[in-house]
């Protein structure tokens, strides 16, 4: 999946744009003339740490949110602060990997918490409507959609994310994957599934398919439908 369109900085600026809209981080003005780095914060989980039991354990949710996501936030703030202060292009370029990694991690996890919902809650039901119809049209059936998303996500070698994404150019829903903490840039993210080992290892160990089956019980289809609607209206 290509996530870059034009030039080396394009994807980078696009990522910042997505970061600003997805995270709505407050921009703090400092007295230094050119320093205007945002201070990112860890968003609250929209539910209790145990709300996704038994599908995703409280222990995983706690570590995932309080440790992993927090580390990306802390890392992003540090990387952006250093970036803003870096006096030369060479030094800024040297910091880009850290901005991409931590920034992507913050974006991806912020989206993730929102596209999950408590076990048994109404949001976890994919009810009839524009979104469900679009899935059936794109994949044939909801089952076929589930199968494709799970298969492609499980096939990622290493760490990454599986996504249901909206392709604005073709106005279609597609399954795409991203590596490491790369943010999804080629499509509008509708549903993201974290397949880094930290997302499932304590509970599912090496058995990725079991985790991928279980997570379908706690996907927030209401949020997904809302993202889809917004993506369609802003095409």
């Amino acid at each position: 999946v290509s996530t870059q369109s034009t030039g080396p900085l394009h994807g980078y600026h696009t990522m910042f744009a997505i970061a600003r809209s997805a995270l709505r981080a407050p921009v703090r003005r400092t007295f230094a003339a050119s320093a205007s780095a945002s201070v990112h914060t860890l968003p609250d989980l929209p539910y209790d740490y145990n709300a996704l039991e038994p599908h995703i354990s409280a222990e995983i949710m706690t570590l995932h949110h309080k440790k992993h996501h927090q580390t990306y936030v802390t890392g992003l703030n540090a990387a952006e602060e250093a970036y803003v202060k870096a006096p030369t292009p060479k030094e800024r370029i040297a910091l880009q990997a850290a901005v991409k990694f931590n920034g992507g991690g913050h974006i991806n996890h912020s989206l993730f918490w929102k596209n999950l919902a408590p076990t048994g809650s109404p949001e976890t039901k994919l009810s009839g409507g524009e979104f469900k119809e679009a899935i059936e049209k794109a994949f044939g059936s909801v089952d076929a959609f589930k199968k494709e998303l799970n298969t492609k996500t499980a096939a990622i070698q290493g760490s990454g994310w599986g996504w249901l994404g909206y392709n604005k150019a073709t106005k279609s829903l597609e399954i795409v994957t991203t590596a490491n903490q790369d943010p999804l840039l080629s499509h509008v993210p509708i549903i993201g599934i974290d397949i880094w080992e930290h997302a499932f290892y304590l509970q599912y160990k090496n058995v990725k398919p079991d985790y991928l089956n279980a997570i379908w019980n706690v996907l927030n289809f209401k949020e997904a439908a809302a993202r889809y609607k917004e993506a369609r209206s802003s095409s």
């Binding site: 570590l63 440790k67 760490s159 304590l202 160990k205 090496n206």
Partner: protein, 199 residues
């Protein structure tokens, strides 16, 4: 020809308390064995390259075949890079070479630890050498293996999350600190002055 999982050089509880028996059970029996099973599956479907050594597959293949072969090789090398009798300061020829390349063991330890803990995502940290025994630290991503770039591996540390999550959760730096208690300097020394076939 079927590919076989090489035996673990020690019992599954031999690295405790540094790395638990539970970790070795999953890491060896599920992950390492899983790569071997998958490679055999692929070999049955595409016998054209079946029977090639891991080194050959690493150098000539890409994609899913490369991933399995490289990960089998990487894990075998990792188990050997650890020892129940390991740890402490390096001895022998490798100690000399470390001082030459890095100034001191402490300096090397700091650099290697930084490379291992700072790697973004899954991968491996390696101590490698060239034909003149000059040492270098390299990291590879995911299933990456340094022999593909012409380096000769001396030691490795697995930084995929499955290597440390059971024992250390998200605390990769703590896992790296533990790796130093197990590092097998004997194995490192045996990888000097050899030209091929490290396994």
């Amino acid at each position: 020809m079927t590919y076989e999982l090489p035996p673990l050089p020690y019992a599954k509880n031999a690295l405790a308390p540094h790395l638990s028996e539970e970790t070795l059970n999953f890491h060896y029996e599920k992950h390492h064995r899983g790569y071997v099973n998958k490679l055999n599956q692929l070999a049955a479907e595409k016998p054209a390259w079946a029977g090639k050594s891991y080194e050959e597959l690493i150098k000539t293949e890409s994609g899913v075949v490369f991933n399995q072969a490289a990960q089998i090789w990487n894990h075998t090398f990792y188990w050997k890079s650890l020892s129940p009798n390991g740890g402490g300061a390096p001895t022998g020829k490798v100690a000399e070479l470390i001082n030459e390349a890095f100034g001191s063991f402490d300096a090397f330890k700091e650099k290697f630890s930084a490379a291992a803990s700072g790697h973004f995502g899954s991968g491996w940290a390696w101590l490698v050498r060239d034909d003149n025994n000059k040492l270098q630290i390299v990291s590879t991503h995911d299933a990456g293996n340094p022999i593909k770039d012409g380096h000769i591996p001396v030691l490795t540390c697995d930084v995929w999350e499955h290597a440390y999550y059971i024992d250390f959760r998200n605390d990769r730096p703590k896992y790296i600190a533990t790796w130093w208690n197990l590092v097998n300097w004997e194995f490192a020394n045996s990888n000097l002055n050899q030209q091929r076939s490290f396994l």
